[in-house]
Amino acid sequence: MDNISVSWSKMRFYSLLLLFLAGCDAQQPADEPGSTATSSSGNNTYVDVSKEPLSKDIFGKVTAIPETLHPHWVWIYDIAAASMPDGRAYLYDGDTARVLGMLNTGYSFNALNLPGHYREVYSAETYYARTTRGERTDVVSIYDPFKLTPVAEIEIPAKRVSTLPRLADSALTDDDRFMAVFNLTPAASLSIVDLEQRRFAGEVMTPGCAMAYGAGDRRFFALCSDGSLLLIDLTEEGTQAAAQRSEPFFNALEDPILETGVRSGDTWYFMSVLGKIHPVEFSADGPVFSDTWWYLDGKDREDNWRIGGMQPLTLHESTQRLYLLMHQGDFYTYEAPGPEIWVYDLATRERVDKIRTRHSSISIAVSQDDNPLLYTITEDLSTLDIYDASSGEYLRSAGELGITPFLIDPVPLP
């Protein structure tokens, strides 16, 4: 044992000595000005004496993200399905297709929730004390979106749902005060978190209904298996004030709507598998179901064109341009990737463009600025392709996107 200690001491001494000598050497000028240097191997090497030697790097620097939010920054959410305790969220710059940084987000990660103020971002997460065993703890983690460091966490009941990622597995109220996290045990409920006071506010049961969508400052709704929706109104403390189950507005067996919806003002739009758009407006009194309309005409349906993907629709709100990821396939291909993106004008209900993408895609999203970018994740989950959303022109790509990245979330407008 003593011999081992001595050996380690000697090794440390010689290691430090070597580092010291190397450091001294690095500080010496290569040679006198105006001369050429001779390397240790004896070969003559030209030294450009007209240039100053490089200065030493500073050890320990960490890159900081400029705290000026850019509308072309975009989050990519990765469940890391090959090693699910290791979920992560990557932040990309759509203008350069470079990674700005990432967050580690625990087991069976779904998505961040991005508030409009963007001073912080929220993440419903699950952890096991020994990675895959030991005590389970579910939390809403709060991160600094520029430093990409955790700043707080709020423990919630350890029953957060574990699914293939869906943006609607959690949601924020319109004023970003409360967050709802979908639970499934298989009893369905929402954990309500007060983000301002940093506390778990309570649980709201949602029997027969799933997921969470924001619809007001104190209001969420969930979609139900009988084709209705459940509207939950909250008190100022984040507890349930009222629950209202609507009449059915779609047929979950004959023509289900996709979980991904898009929102413009007080109206949510959901796409059905057979080709209808279901607008749902949220008035003070509750939901109002406007007439549905076909986004697929008879020929499209005859040719088996179908919406499909993991995140197959996105809306550019100021222009009312609706983008749908399309492919040809049968009824149960509504999660399959597509080679085309069809663009609609929500105001006129007309299809205005078709974009043939470079690769078949599994998810799409659009930035909300006046020069919007259209993002797609390729079906092999390897690449983020970036297009001009107005013209459909391909711009650039980011490869090695992640492990199994499924969802795209552009940051809110500054």
Binding site: I79, A81, A82, S83, M84, P85, Y107, S108, T126, Y128, T131, T132, R133, R136, K159, V161, S162, T163, L164, R166, L184, T185, P186, A188, C209, A210, M211, A222, L223, C224, S225, A252, L253, P256, I257, L258, E259, M310, H327, G329, D330, F331, Y332, T333, E335, A336, P337, S360, I362, E379, L381, T404, F406
Partner: protein, 172 residues
């Protein structure tokens, strides 16, 4: 359990294109809470079973995605992970809840109720992924959604692989 099916889109699309919508309506995907609930299950008959022509032997190979019991499978086959099609790999735990399907046994022509119980407690096996997406509905219909991790019902929610437990004859 079907977290991983998007890796295998070609397989998904291939299957789905050969799946009629009506065939789903003849398939049952119901929430199962323990074997005692079996007699209460609504049972439907699947007359468009998997293509069994390539499987060998009287019932085929449980390690192949085409195996008849895998008609509603969406996950990693436990046979390839140290377990079998009816038992979990060592050190894992079988989830008591799942969704069920009705599959036709090519050896006797009968329809059987198959429960796709997940094995839980270790991270993903990552071997023998099998995805046959027929009958999948969105997550607001949990009992018919294969995008949900059914380990939720076990003591540990970490998904490893999936078995195919035969519960009995399907009854018309």
């Amino acid at each position: 359990m079907s977290f991983f099916d998007r890796w295998f889109q070609d397989r998904t699309r291939s299957l789905a294109r050969h799946t009629s919508r009506r065939s789903f309506l003849r398939k049952a995907g119901v929430l199962l809470v323990g074997a005692g609930a079996v007699p209460l299950l609504p049972v439907a008959k699947a007359n468009t079973g998997p293509d069994d022509s390539s499987i060998s032997g009287p019932e085929g190979d449980p390690g192949k995605c085409e195996y008849w019991r895998n008609c509603g499978m969406d996950g990693f086959l436990c046979t390839c992970c140290g377990g079998s099609h009816t038992s979990c790999p060592p050190g894992t735990e079988m989830a008591p809840m799942t969704w069920v399907g009705t599959c036709k046994n090519p050896a006797d022509g009968r329809d059987y109720i198959i429960a796709y119980n997940d094995c839980c407690g270790k991270s993903t096996c990552n071997r023998c992924m099998c995805n046959r997406n027929e009958g999948d509905l969105p997550n607001y219909f949990p009992s018919k959604s294969n995008d949900i991790n059914w380990c939720m019902g076990s003591s540990n929610n970490v998904y490893h692989c999936t078995t195919t437990i035969l519960l009995g004859l399907a009854v018309n």
